[in-house]
Amino acid sequence: MIDRRLIHNFDWGLLLIVVLLGAMGLTTIYSAVTADPPPAPQKVLFYKQMVWFAIGIIVMAASFSFSYRLLDRWAHPIYIACVLLLLGVVVFGKFAGGSRRWLVLGPVHLQPSELIKIAIVLVLAKYYSKGSDPLGFSLRDLLRPMLLTALPFALIVIQPDLGTAGLVVLIAVTMTLFVKAERRALILLVTSAAALVPVVWSLLKEYQKQRILTFLNPDQDPLGSGYHIIQSKIAIGSGMISGKGYLQGTQNALSFLPEEHTDFIFSVLAEEWGAVGSIALILLFLILILWGLSIAHSCRDPFGTILAVGITALLAWQVVINIGMTMGLMPVVGVPLPLISYGGSSTLTVAICIGLLMNISMRRFLVD
């Protein structure tokens, strides 16, 4: 069912932003993976990422080929499937780098905690779009969204992946604030959450407490994440205004940067392209996010509006957390930079997000 109006309404502007960001991402990944001194033939990661982008384009196209309104019906099955995948991680997950995050399916290492972010946005959009009292959602109304968020949150925390778990909560909170909740309910929730903190804290083991303290304040661990932060700051700062030049980053080349092609990719870009390049990237992200919000603004049904806001919030928080982390403004967490960081699951998640935004955008004038 190809409707000519759909093609007419296709969001070419969004596509352009995404293509520009994707190009910056691939360029930077190439620099990050080739800069290592030999023998570190990681160039293969660059080609892998090209493959992921190709798959991403197909996934994106698939995500706008059907009407997003169908997702209202599919939200729960999708959510359940993603939760089952997360459970699979708990049981069969591959252990790497101190946590259990990946499901190994043949040659593919799937990270279900990436996909669950979209699933949560879907179920919350579905629930919130059914409407509330004029005063907003009451505490009783909010119980269900809280449970829908808490289950995957718990499964991600035990991996443990504190960054993604926090991100999931941020997205859910953003959506809840957006749809308006009763003031009474919000006050009650905030106070009870604050009251629970010391209780949970007392239940934690000593090393878990230590890990959270370090997470909140990397200066406490100058030999671990604190060291990464200072090296990242040196990389970004040393780029100065015009940068050291492409493939000329010394911090990058000497492996001072941890996870340079995933979590700290922004530092590589900032070192090589300086303020010029990094401000351009941040502005592009800003345009992408405002674009997403304007799609929400022009959408005429609650489900589409809330869905667009949720997806945009997902992207926005990842950008803010990741770039903030590399500049020492945020705790060191494994949150990838959309369209820039290396990673299959992350690329596919972002592709779905963009595809859904396009979906909502091109159907804004259509009435089924």
Partner: protein, 622 residues
Amino acid sequence: MERFLKPEEQDGYRPRIIGVMITVLVLFVALLLRLVYLQVVMGEEYYRLSMNNSIRLQTVDSPRGLILDRHGTKLAENRPSFDVNFTPKDAGDPGRVLTELSAHLQSPAEDLLAKVKHSRGLAAFKPVLLKQDIGRDVLAVVEARRVDLPGVSVQVRLRRNYLYGMNASHVIGYLGEVSLEELKSGDHPTLRSGDVIGKFGVERTFDDFLRGEPGGRQVEVNANGQVMRVLRTVSARPGRNVVLTVDRELQLRAEELLDGVAGAAVAVDPTNGHVLALASSPAFNQNTFVSGIASDAWESLISHPFRPLENKAIQGEYPPGSTFKIVTALAGLEEKAIDETTVFDCGGFLNYAGRDYRCWKKEGHGRVDIRRALAESCDVFFYRTGQRLGVDRLAWYAKAFGLGARTGIGLDQESRGLIPSSAWKKKRFGVAWQEGETLSVSIGQGYNLTTPLQMALLAAAVGNGGIRHRPLIMQRVETIEGEIVFQAEPQETGRLPISPRNLKMVQEGIWAAVNGERGTARRVHLPDIEIAGKTGTSQVIGRKDSGDDHIPPHLRPHAWFVCYAPAAAPKLAVSVVVENGEHGSSAAGPIAREMVKTYLRKVPDARRLAGDGVKVVVGGNG
């Protein structure tokens, strides 16, 4: 059915989208301001830092806690070791430097180059470990040539040193590099690959206490790798000292007595469960494990016929032989299968189901009661007692005494032993229990298996009036300043389900075994200390009806002896097993006796030791 926005809802959402946009703008302005601060305001400074690549991490080892005996004598400590490191980036011409260095270290330049090449995946500014623990002579040469050897540095690290090489090696255990599985388990969040962790014994069990927290420094270095300023320091926290319950003197004595045989000796304090000695023979030298054991040394340890790596005191499972008669006697009395007046006639064998079950004394003991039966270890008496009890009632008592289950000492790979029952046999072999097997089990043969530690604890409980204690190997944990971090309290795990009267009868029986005229353990008798004990000889192969004295050594029976002393108010309970030692009275008993002497007299009697057979002596009865 789709629901579309009513005007009032649009009015609700649209302003809020504007609100979200404003929030996003604020966040992004914060990012941009931070970026400008880093790249424009601080740019020069960060550029300088990045050009020197001058920030290094140096780790500072935290000393591992000491292991001390109950009197505070050091068993394991740390000593300095000088390790040669090489930082490729600071070397200028790595090939020349390594060639020169190889002459001093007496290792081929190719090996050194290979080590450096191998770790090139790491950044060039990270030091590569070339050689560990160079002697002081080599150290002097390397330090003197410092100027000609850029990039070479000597690091002082702490290495484990076991003060009594071969002694208490099974208790203390050893260290090794942390394995991938241990890292993956998530139990050691602070450990990184290459770190050292306790692998066996106390080093492993109390690793969390013993291991300190490493510290480190973030430093800025100049072009020659010299530290210009220290940016940040995290001080190391030394490990805690672990004070064991082991008495070093008694432990060393037990090991000396076991020298040359395969076996184990355990001594516990019956009043609180403190393990005073836990010896297993042959031992190994823990110091060979410190810098990674050589593969041929490892090979010879694991192929040794006497299994030196096994802690026989807790891992070794042996049929308890006649020492089990203590259990049969207590069970029989308590179940009223026998009593003080019960007398069985021993004619040297018991015929059951057409088969003769022999007593060790061919000519027979004649008419024996419970006390004589224990003192002279009459098999027929206990065959009859066992017949009246049945295997399941016997098994119930054995389990209630702590046999067939781990004692919970906390050292790794502790064995359970085995106490057979009719249900067990049905499950294990699918066939019904045979009454004849009850006879074997009653004298500690057959399927029964116990560890030396289990039997020492049983002797302790019999001696102290029936109180069972959890064995303690560690008394307390202290900081290096001596502040007590953890104190292990004696823990009662239960009581023997035996009336005082019946217990007393058995105590008198095993007292007579050592002190009576015809006791099987007369050799163990001491003039000044009253010992109560029981010998045991456990068959390696089934006891044949026709006696044959020419059995090859590895099929000879194991010798057992369990005892406590002083008999009236025991301060020490001992169990000894000598593999293939044949007779409890001659091979195991004297070892236990010497341990009692060492601990209770504190002055070893050299004359007696030399005059009496402490080593394996064939002959006597068990």
